[in-house]
């Protein structure tokens, strides 16, 4: 495995300090993909994206082209872009909205044309104060440039685009909760079926929801063709992808990497990427795809960064974030903090998720602070089993959305991989790591 010389598809402009401006964007091929798309039929544009086999970058990894083609049989009313990015340790969309807002806007316009929708929304988490400003400023410029609005670039196609701020709630990243939030309500996920966005979405109309990074790939795909994108990567995982690397590494950051060709080991240790673990400490564990994903240990570090490859090993590539924990990390503490996150962010509609997350958090806190009992381990697993019966991967769902069934991932992993550490906490009444 190696770090390949694949082209930078979504981060090509990031070296320029003014990468967020229209001038820089136009000077580097900006809006050419859209111009090209507008000379094609909407069907041909969609076919190009289908040929790219671009997998959704929001977490579920569903192919964007397939999502659209299912919808093309029925007219779609709205396109909604998911820029809620709140999965802990995920920070790639942050880069895209702040540093290349025009690329995002162009991608949205290409998708809107392919789907023939006349109104689209970009939902950004409210904590992106600068990102919201950058995208709004870029949108204002794009209107003046004739790229958005009535009869864009003289093509006869009209589209209005609105930037919408969230207000702090992880669950609003779930697509149906996002739609509720965009309707001015609490972010309560809707039950599927029947509320698949494609059938009954925003204002009850068929709606496409796609992630910011998914959209940001479209200008390149239009310019270079779906086949060129599909030629990168391997198997189902085509193209490049953004990986957000954080935790115990020398160079945390966002890296654009060709799918499958590179491994977790490359990402974490290569000098041009993560640069290894500070103090030359050993790798204890890593989380491969956001805190909803089960953990991996050093044995899995040579796995390729590919969707099927990671799924086959019992976890997921999810939101493209990798958290590295060194040998001095307390696994109980890490799992407790993740559980507390879920307990805080559960929207409260489903009993297993609302009650289960609270119980798990309290038991984990008790163990972590040295007041645990030996039975607590079974109690934890039992409570996890009530949320995700059988503790399988992917989990069984007993709840409205998959936030609930994601809660057991970290606790289950920590107990499986570091049972001894739990026992030390319990028997010695405290943390061996201080």
């Amino acid at each position: 495995m190696a770090i390949t010389e694949a082209p930078k598809i979504v981060t090509a402009r990031m070296g320029h300090p003014d990468s967020h401006t229209l001038e820089r964007y136009l000077a580097t091929g900006g809006y050419e993909g859209l111009r090209k798309a507008l000379t094609m039929t909407p069907e041909a544009v969609a076919a190009e994206v289908d040929a790219a086999s671009l997998l959704g970058r929001g977490g579920a990894g569903f192919p964007a082209g397939r999502k659209w083609s299912m919808l093309r049989k029925n007219p779609v009313s709205y396109l909604v872009v998911n820029g809620d990015e709140s999965e802990p340790a995920t920070f790639k969309d942050h880069l895209l909205v702040e540093r290349d807002p025009h690329q995002l806007i162009e991608g949205v316009l290409i998708a809107a044309y392919a789907l023939q929708v006349s109104q689209a929304f970009i939902y950004l988490r409210g904590e992106f104060a600068l990102g919201l400003e950058r995208v709004q400023a870029a949108l204002n410029d794009a209107y003046d440039h004739g790229a958005v609005g009535e009869d864009i670039f003289g093509s006869g196609f009209s589209i209005d685009l609105v930037v919408h701020p969230g207000a702090g709630a992880y669950i609003c990243g779930e697509e149906t909760a996002l739609i509720e939030s965009l309707e001015g309500k609490r972010g309560f996920p809707r039950i599927k079926p029947p509320f698949f966005p494609a059938a009954i979405g925003l204002y009850g109309e068929p709606t496409v929801v796609n992630n910011v990074e998914t959209m940001s790939n479209l200008p390149w795909i239009m310019l270079h063709g779906g086949a060129a994108f599909a030629a990168l990567g391997e198997g189902k995982s085509t193209g490049t992808r953004l990986f957000a690397l954080a935790g115990h590494v020398r160079h945390p950051g966002v890296f654009e990497i060709e799918m499958v060709k590179t491994t977790f080991a490359d990402l974490i240790f290569a000098p041009v990427l993560g640069g290894g673990i500070p103090g030359d400490r050993q790798l204890k564990a890593f989380i491969p795809g956001g805190v909803s994903a089960p953990w991996f240990g050093p044995e899995q570090v040579d796995l390729p960064l590919g969707q099927d490859e990671v799924a086959g090993a019992g976890s997921m590539l999810g939101s493209g974030s990798v958290v590295v924990m060194d040998e001095d990390t307390c696994a109980v503490r890490a799992a407790w903090r993740i559980t507390r996150f879920f307990a805080r962010e559960s929207c409260g509609q489903c009993t297993p998720c609302r009650e289960g997350s609270g119980w798990l958090e309290r038991i984990m806190a008790r163990i972590e602070s040295g007041h645990g009992r030996e039975e607590d381990l079974d109690l934890l697993l039992d409570a996890c089993d009530n949320i995700a019966p059988g503790l399988t991967w992917p989990p069984q769902q007993t709840t409205i959305c998959v936030l609930g069934p994601s809660i057991p991932s970290s606790i289950g992993s920590a107990i499986k991989m570091f049972r001894d550490e739990f026992l030390v906490h319990i028997k010695e009444g405290g943390c061996p790591f201080g």
Binding site: F91, H94, L132, G168, E183, K185, R186, A246, G247
Partner: protein, 233 residues
């Protein structure tokens, strides 16, 4: 209201009720009100503008005060209870007053691994407040945040939702001193000011045009429904 109005006593003028009744209007400044109306016009349904309007009101007052809630409710056609109930779901909407600067320290996983809890502890001790508290001079509110999507600069701190980069206990104290001295005002606006860049112009594709397209879509939808019905029999 139905039925007969109650008989009005002919006696001396009734004294004003002791309970303060809130009348919608007059709280938001004309400029903010104008921005609010422009925002509402962007959405197919006024209620969609609820969160943006709450952010606007917070930009004016620093928090979402009861008078603003009443006025927002009136603007989007809801009851104040509905607005408050929705707003209370969201961490960024403050239905209690907060300091001029809301300082959020993330303690989620990536930041935890890089000393976030120690930083938060230091912050509380150095400011003399607990998490969620506000300094007595009303300058700073300290919040513990979930992941703020800036995990490569950990532990991550935001002030009024502007990223200020990874902080150590020492740099945190300098940051606070700077905030108090107004030295960061260009980069970190006071109060809840979220969006300084406003949309230029309103909806650029006319409502009639969107409506025409939507009508065509509705027609297609009705056709699909009719076909489905046929399929059922």
């Amino acid at each position: 209201m139905t039925g007969e109005p109650p008989p009005t006593p002919a006696a001396a003028p009734v004294p004003a009720p002791a309970v303060r009744t809130r009348k919608a209007g007059g709280h938001l400044t004309p400029e903010v009100l104008d921005q609010a109306r422009q925002l509402i016009a962007l959405y197919p349904e006024p209620r969609s503008a609820l969160i943006p309007l709450c952010h606007l009101a917070q930009g004016q007052d620093g928090w979402l005060c009861p008078d603003a809630i009443v006025e927002i409710a009136d603007l989007v056609g809801l009851t104040p209870a509905e607005v408050r109930g929705t707003a209370s779901f969201y961490d960024m909407l403050h239905t209690e007053p907060v300091g001029t600067y809301v300082v959020s320290v993330c303690t989620n996983i990536a930041c935890l691994l890089r000393g976030a809890e120690e930083l938060l502890e230091h912050a509380g001790a150095s400011l003399g407040i607990g998490v969620g508290g506000t300094t007595t001079d009303g300058t700073i509110t300290l919040e513990e945040a979930e992941c703020l999507a800036d995990c490569d600069r950990a532990p991550c701190v935001q002030v009024n939702h502007r990223y200020v980069g990874a902080q150590t206990p020492e740099s945190f104290d300098r940051l606070v001193a700077d905030l108090r001295a107004g030295a960061r005002d260009g980069e970190v606006p006071r109060h809840g000011t979220l969006i300084r860049v406003r949309r230029s112009g309103g909806l650029r594709v006319g409502r009639d045009r969107i409506a025409a397209e939507r009508a065509a879509m509705a027609e297609a939808k009705a056709r699909r429904a009719a076909e489905a019905e046929k399929g059922d029999h």
